[in-house]
Amino acid sequence: MKTKKVTRNIGYYIILALFSLMVLIPVLWMVSTAFKPEVETFTIPPRWIPENPTLDSFRNIRTAYPFFTQLKNSFIVVVGSTIITVIFACFSGYGVTRFKFKGRKQFMSFLLVTQMFPSIMVLVPFYTILNKLNLINTYWGLIVVYVSMSIAFATWMITSFFKSIPISLDEAAIIDGCTRFQVFWKIVLPLTIPGLVSICIYCFINGWNEYMFASTFVTTEEMKTITVGIAELSGQYKILWNDMMAASLVASVPLVVLFVFLQKYFISGMTAGAVKN
């Protein structure tokens, strides 16, 4: 019995190691490149360990490009849109699971249907709207677009989470004299923290990685977001791989940090949210 278990575990480790390797090869290549001087990025045969490791590219992205402004832009836009999305999603999650009103089910299927529109389809209409409202090249413009991008799935996730919290809790609180809003704010919401964390991560990653909208709705240099900035490092004739990889690494740090600290919540959040449909 015991030896069978051991061999099975070894099998699991082999599979995990294989897939991890598949994931890690491109990632390690990014890391290794970030520390290479420019000439070394094109050497044949390619080298895993840089011959003359250097921090030049990290210095470059600070001095030669408006990289930190872009990092700041991304941060403002993504945090703003995440906060709005999460607040609105929570309200509707509570509303949909606690009240029986007409159109409740339609609202939920509407959420799923919105996922079926190609985002390329709304690109042009969005541009005209933002243009009319003078929101091109502004934080608010992108915040609004990113809210629209994440809100449907975020609402769907948080709703299934609210469902797992018994309504008898609400009842008891109301009998004790709480208002509806107090029940929502003080009793139900604290219980959904893992769910909240997972949708925050979802919105954050979604926004942080977005490229198409950001590259279309922002035209001035000082308003660009980080993904656009990185993509633009690939010039028409020459790609500065080392600078680009250094920039990508720095841009990934917020996500990795966010995820490492919150992954426990993220998984339990998805677990509880996913159970019932």
Binding site: P26, T114, E171, A231
Partner: protein, 303 residues
């Protein structure tokens, strides 16, 4: 839905009049956002699809001509076909890898947190950056892939991976599987963790084999999450744009010309915004149909 039944009804009874209005006020902010930011742009797109327009000074009403143009053109069907093939392989890859890995990650073995952290990484890397990295890895002259394969003597001379239609499609699929499997893995893992252990113990007592436990306990318990994950994943990748655009721009030839790439080119290279919008509307209907088909299939298996 479970809230309709039982205890909750008591609460509704003594507050019925307010309850409806209260429900609306909770979803109102969300609804307004969605109406303004999703519904309006969609209808705007619908409107544009009825015109021959450059969006500035030319607005010629053409009715459904854009639609017939698209529908009577074989190019549309060939990109739908390529997109379907692409989506099929990508989603299949996500679910196979997702199933295997979530199954293992659900086990209580040492070091699982580390593997979980590694395996989630593709989800954290921006699509545009990721596509650039892979483009570089597959570079015919100084790419790592050719170098490795030649070192292992699997190939004898460098291949132009993205310059050859056969390989380019395959690589686009591989990269998109690489990018998207963590999401499915996490969703299935979440489902697996919600299955009560007692169910498996009961199965054990009844003498079920591992395979039987998988078919009769695991699958039915996570069916709902599987259905949603499948619908969303299919629809998301059917509409996919960024990675393939950066990798190949739809080429070589039309080997990787996904429908979204087609729409992008129609809009922003040929400036036929009406035709582009019409194609986008058709894509919506295809996605909608895919969703409905899945729903049917899953409902049919309900009992």
């Amino acid at each position: 839905m479970d809230i309709e039944k039982g205890e909750s009804m008591r609460l509704f009874k003594y507050r019925t009049t307010n309850v409806n209005r209260m429900g609306y006020s909770f979803i109102l902010p969300n609804l307004i956002v969605m109406l303004i930011l999703i519904t309006y742009p969609v209808f705007r797109g619908l409107y544009i699809s009825l015109f021959n327009t450059n969006l500035i000074n030319k607005w010629k009403f053409v009715g459904f001509n854009n639609y017939t143009d698209v529908l009577f053109n074989s190019e549309f069907y060939s990109s739908v076909w390529i997109t379907l093939k692409f989506t099929f392989f990508v989603v299949l890859g996500h679910f196979i890898i997702g199933f295997i890995l979530s199954h293992i990650l659900n086990k209580n073995i040492k070091g699982i947190t580390l593997f979980r952290a590694i395996l989630i990484m593709p989800w954290l890397i921006p699509e545009s950056v990721l596509a650039m990295v892979f483009k570089w890895l597959f570079n015919p002259v100084y790419g790592l892939v050719n170098h490795l394969l030649m070192k292992l003597s699997i190939i004898s001379e460098p291949l132009s991976w993205l310059g050859d239609g056969k390989y380019a499609f395959f690589i686009a699929v591989m990269v998109c599987i690489w990018k998207g499997f963590p999401m499915i893995m996490m969703m299935i893992l979440a489902g697996l963790q919600s299955i009560p252990k007692t169910l498996y113990e009961a199965g054990q007592i009844d003498g079920a084999s591992n395979w039987q436990k998988f078919i009769y306990i695991t699958i039915p318990s996570i069916k709902h999450i599987l259905a949603t994950a499948l619908i969303l994943d299919t629809v998301w990748w059917f509409k996919h744009y960024t990675i393939v655009w950066v990798l190949t721009q739809g080429g070589p030839g039309s080997a990787t010309s996904l429908i979204s790439i087609d729409i992008y080119k129609t809009n922003f290279e040929y400036f036929k915004f009406g035709k582009g919008s019409a194609t986008a509307i058709l894509v919506f209907f295809i996605c909608f149909a895919i969703g409905k088909i899945y729903e049917r299939v899953f409902k049919a298996n309900e009992d």
